[in-house]
Subunit: 704 residues, 2 copies
């Protein structure tokens, strides 16, 4: 083996170990130059630029022509938004596209032609880029006056393809679709049969007084379908049945049957099906990550090996410790892990490592970091020691909580008393004085705690950081209030001076005090468990949130394109008559708008569209809008919420089991990740599986 | 052993085996007379009388004075309901109470004093009876004019205590309460903190135009709390945020945070907690049933034993086959099981049975009945055989489904065309002619199928029974239509002749045809799975439904008592201004009224109460009503729905797993019960456990 060969192998090992750390696939080119390119491509700066580009191209929608952000959302009052000149957003777009073109070509080169053909995501990436660039050229040649911009709807794809977690999640969702489809089909059958029943039951009668039900909800097929679909979301329950019910109580049986079957059984069945499919999802994904890590480590071992060994005694492959040191110097990884590995390498006696030893060495990566809080300072004086004992005792924390509660209650009392007063009648003296006192107490508490625990130990607890930061902000606000408005005195009137009025300042202080009250959470055991579950969930849900953003973005852009120009300020006509079909639509829309960020852009537009449709009988637009909103409801409300519930169940049940098993490790805080949560149940891949995977590598050709 | 002793032991064995069959506890008196009383008490007629009494006393609420049923629910139109004279319902009540007194005394006597002291349910039963009887005496002494009748609220207790399944379920729910309470507490903290934030954010401003949010939703503390509580049910989303949102888009962050945290996280966490608690619930209850059965069988073995054996060779206890025959003659059980046991007893060679053999003999009880369909008739003629082949082929069934679909579509088309026509313009000729043709086809199909399969085989399939019955009813309706209105001809006008108008007849026929279309369900595999899951769920949910009825009943009675007399017909004033707090209340009520049977009685009342409160500013009543409805929402909507979801998940996941394991046993229909669903995972109790339980028996004193 020559020196260059040796260098190459060292470099390969470095890259493979980095792959293992990041859970990346090792199926890429392994020659010298490609390795350099690979490391450069996955360097922090490059990935950061890529992320920034994706953010920029997604954020463009907020400033582009049809949907510029304004402070108010009401079309009647809002100022004409800023209209960027033609070419400005387009040139930013072009820059982004160029980055993406560069990205896709580097990626394709690195995995090689053979792998490229297998990777549908890369091909879709190229296709998206081609379509986007074509659309961009068309757009410029029309001088930005064209109406349809396909490339906007395609934008979220760039976000999707950049995250392997999201791609995996999408695959999982995809495999659940057949069963979901069967339930949705059942739901459709349920809906259509009941619609026919309803149309037969609530037909028009001779007596005009008697057929309110027909007039209001079941006038024709689309009306009936809509009424019952809205009933499935429970938005018009029980309004929809009141006319029939007040004619004859027995009619309620129809609606109860429909609601129980549809809402209680079928909708929840969807939850059950999705949960059943996703039960193993987290475990499976963690298992495959583990496999990738083990393969990466093993690959590093294999490339380091042949330098030293003759093929004769191939059963006892070994790696020299010196080579490994060289590799470790070059690898970019968590310094804590690196030190731990080097330490255990130095303490081991032998200077050659077998595959098992090599693997074991890197198990440090899987371990969770046990956070050690710095020690408290040791005071000499007896008095100081006593002080330290008193103020680091848990009762002192409890006292702080009680004081915070008292503060909250006092604010609440003042709020209740002042609720109906006009701003000019308000006197902020009482609240100002109380808050001044409480904030002084908070400051004292913080200082005493720092004195008792030492600043480093104090700061190492997240709850203290939260506390200290808020206290600091409160102090600054209070001091600046006093600087501008003087000390509180009776008749301390809220009048505008400077940036914020006194009243606003006081409100801000109060809000921060209410927020600070959250510090009590870790003190209540069950609540703490629930809150940590929620926090974990947020970590594990990033992939889902990403997909949600993709769906929201696509829907918002589609909505903007479909309904652009349909909204005209119309004065004050915005009152919908309850019971009118239009009102139902509005309610339906409301239901579908749950947790909807970007699509808020559309909210007022849609209400106006419905009003417009009503006035002008534009049945066609209305129907399109209806289909758009039903699709939106199905995807965002029904499917996504159920996915969320499934994941929450999965997470919570695991967490709860662990909580019951190990009672209290209160002082040691684990960095909980999804990998660690499942560590007990994960299976280690066997030697054969690892080697089989290595032999399938398209670029690395092992002699054995 | 004398003959009387022998008889006693035989009788004991009979009762123990019957206990085992019914999964009853064996802890009751075992002397001769008590056994006779015990068998008589648990005879079908006695239990039936008890059930009838419970039904009667619960049904009394429908005819008693404050809530008599009327056809219409609208107070403005309804006739004064029938007012039973004082003493009529009361004497029926007294009869019921006497039955209950008899029931409780027999029960207490049978289990004996020692057990009675341990049974809190029985003591509560006695207490309830004493309170009810006292209340009854008070009621009569006031000549039925007293306002408060406590005994009405206590009535559902009689239903509760009569079902062991419901008592068990209640115990399970009870054990989940601490965790539920922690989440509800978290929810309360969430709500109160956000309420304070909201009151600070949306305070009254100087500009009257700007504080629509304050006027509409956050005027004072109760208003703000209500607004956010209603937002938690999503009923006023996004109305509640529109005023603030149209002032500044950033306000939406507050509402989105509140909804995501409260509705998405905390509410679903409740589901997760309840599911986690109930995961093992079904299994555990089935396991304890199995234990009771094994104990009963073992007890029967033990009482039959000592007749024959000397204590010397006690290791090899045996029962003579002759005694067992005697016992089996007397036991009341499923004839199929009895025959199977007698058959296997006859075929076995030995005439003495060991404990294991005895136990094994009775395992027949645990087996599911495999339903054998009778064979098709065998025809001699070649032509008939061919006919038989054609009409029993599955394609013929498919053709039937296609024809049914065609019928549905034709009805749908006519409905769409006729939707807007006035009754006088309608011409039923087309629909009449089409339906006549289709019903003839259905008749033909039924007859041909009976010809091909023979009547017995045809009738043994549930789908055929469904089909045949509906076809018969359709035929009768059609014939009677023709008899009254003649054959369809153009201008076949719907005019009233006889009981139902032609139009009503046609509608009824159409509804039945739509209903008949459900026969397609078993033909679609996934749909069939889903539907059988739902049907199973209904079976397993009886205990939950019972508890729900208890809760509904108690709430309805309380509501009637609280709000009696508050409702006065007020002409036409029933329109609520959207956005007004009153409207929110109405919407909140609507949300809470989901799937609510008896409490429909209250619906109009509450709307009127709110209206009344509004007009007269009866703040006190309104607040009570609010608390009542919030309690109702929490129990019926939040807790019960989550319990339901938990059980559905449990059931469905088990079912799905089984479905995936065994692919198709299409021809054999199992009688699926919850016991059989878990048979694979149940643990058999050990000999020691059984004997320990037997030795704890308060009345049976085994020599060993």
């Amino acid at each position: 083996a020559t020196g260059a060969d040796n260098d190459l192998h060292i470099n390969q090992a470095v890259v493979f170990i980095e792959d293992a750390i990041q859970y990346r696939s090792i199926n890429h080119r392994v020659d010298s130059k490609s390795l350099w390119l690979y490391r450069w491509y996955y360097s922090r700066i490059c990935q950061w630029i890529l992320g920034l580009t994706i953010t920029v191209i997604l954020a463009l929608a907020f400033v582009e022509t049809p949907s510029s952000l304004t402070v108010t959302s009401d079309v009647r009052y809002r100022h004409p938004p800023w209209d960027p000149p033609c070419g400005l957003t387009e040139s930013i777009e072009l820059l982004c596209f160029l980055v993406f073109v560069f990205d896709v070509s580097v990626k394709s080169y690195l995995i090689g032609w053979e792998e490229f053909c297998k990777t549908k995501w890369l091909m879709a990436y190229i296709l998206t880029l081609v379509v986007s660039l074509t659309d961009w050229i068309v757009s410029l040649s029309f001088l930005c006056t064209e109406t349809v911009r396909i490339r906007r709807i395609l934008r979220p794809f760039f976000l999707l393809q950049n995250s392997s977690m999201m791609k995996k999640t999408l695959k999982s969702i995809n495999s659940t679709l057949p069963e979901m489809a069967s339930v949705v089909l059942l739901l459709a059958v349920h809906l259509s049969l009941f619609t026919m029943f309803a149309m037969l039951l609530f037909a028009r009668t001779k007596d005009g007084q008697q057929d309110k039900e027909w007039v209001g909800y079941f006038r024709n097929l689309p009306d009936s379908l809509t009424s019952l679909l809205v009933l499935l979301t429970t938005a018009n329950n029980p309004d929809v049945m009141i006319p029939a019910y007040s004619k004859n109580r027995a009619y309620s049986i129809f609606f109860i049957l429909f609601t129980v079957l549809g809402n209680l059984f079928l909708m929840n069945l969807l939850t059950a099906i999705i949960y059943n499919q996703f039960r193993g999802y987290l475990l499976k994904s963690v298992q495959s990550s583990l496999f990738r890590r083990r393969v990466g480590i093993r690959a590093a071992f294999e490339v380091l090996c042949p330098l030293e060994e003759t093929p004769a005694n191939a059963q006892e492959l070994c790696v020299s410790v010196g080579d490994l040191f060289q590799v470790l110097q070059k690898v970019e990884m968590d310094p804590r892990c690196k030190q731990a590995i080097i330490r255990s390498l130095k303490t081991s006696s032998c200077d050659r490592l077998s595959a098992a030893q090599f693997q074991k060495l890197f198990e440090e990566l899987d371990k969770d970091a046990i956070k050690q809080h710095p020690p408290s300072p040791e005071y000499q004086s007896h008095f100081m020691q006593k002080l330290q004992f008193v103020f680091s005792h848990s009762y002192f924390g409890c006292l702080g909580n009680v004081v915070a509660l008292a503060n909250i209650i006092s604010i609440c009392v003042v709020l209740v008393m002042d609720a109906d007063k006009r701003p000019s009648e308000r006197d902020d003296f009482f609240l100002g004085a109380i808050n001044c006192f409480f904030i002084l107490y908070y400051l004292l508490e913080t200082l005493l705690k720092i004195l008792a625990m030492g600043f480093k130990r104090y700061w190492s607890y997240p709850s203290n950081r939260f506390d200290g930061l808020l206290t600091g902000i409160l102090l600054i606000l209070e001091i600046s209030t006093f600087a501008v408005y003087g000390f509180p005195h009776p008749g301390w009137r809220p009048e505008l001076m400077g940036l914020l009025s006194l009243w606003d300042m006081v409100r801000l202080v109060n809000m921060l005090i209410v927020f600070r009250f959250l510090r009590i959470i870790p003190n209540m055991k069950l609540m703490a468990l629930v809150v940590t579950t929620l926090l974990d969930l947020v970590k594990n849900l990033r992939a889902f949130a990403g997909i949600l953003v993709v769906v929201f973005y696509a829907f918002a852009i589609t909505g903007i394109m479909l309904f652009k120009g349909a909204v005209v300020p119309m004065g004050n006509i915005r009152i919908f008559v309850p019971g009118h079909p239009l009102h139902q639509e509005a309610v339906l829309i409301s239901k579908k708008k749950k947790c909807d960020f970007l699509a808020f852009l559309n909210h007022f537009q849609t209400i106006f569209i419905y009003h417009l449709c009503y006035l002008l009988s534009f049945n066609l637009i209305c129907r399109w809008a209806k289909i758009y909103f039903i699709a939106w409801w199905l995807i965002s409300s029904v499917i996504w919420v159920n996915l969320f519930v499934a994941l929450l169940l999965e997470n919570f049940i695991h967490k709860w089991d662990r909580h019951c098993h190990r009672e209290s490790l209160s002082d040691i805080e684990y960095q909980r990740t999804v990998e660690l949560m499942f560590r007990d149940v994960l299976e280690e891949p066997t030697e054969e599986e690892l080697m089989e995977r290595l032999h399938q590598h398209p670029h690395l050709h092992l002699c054995r």
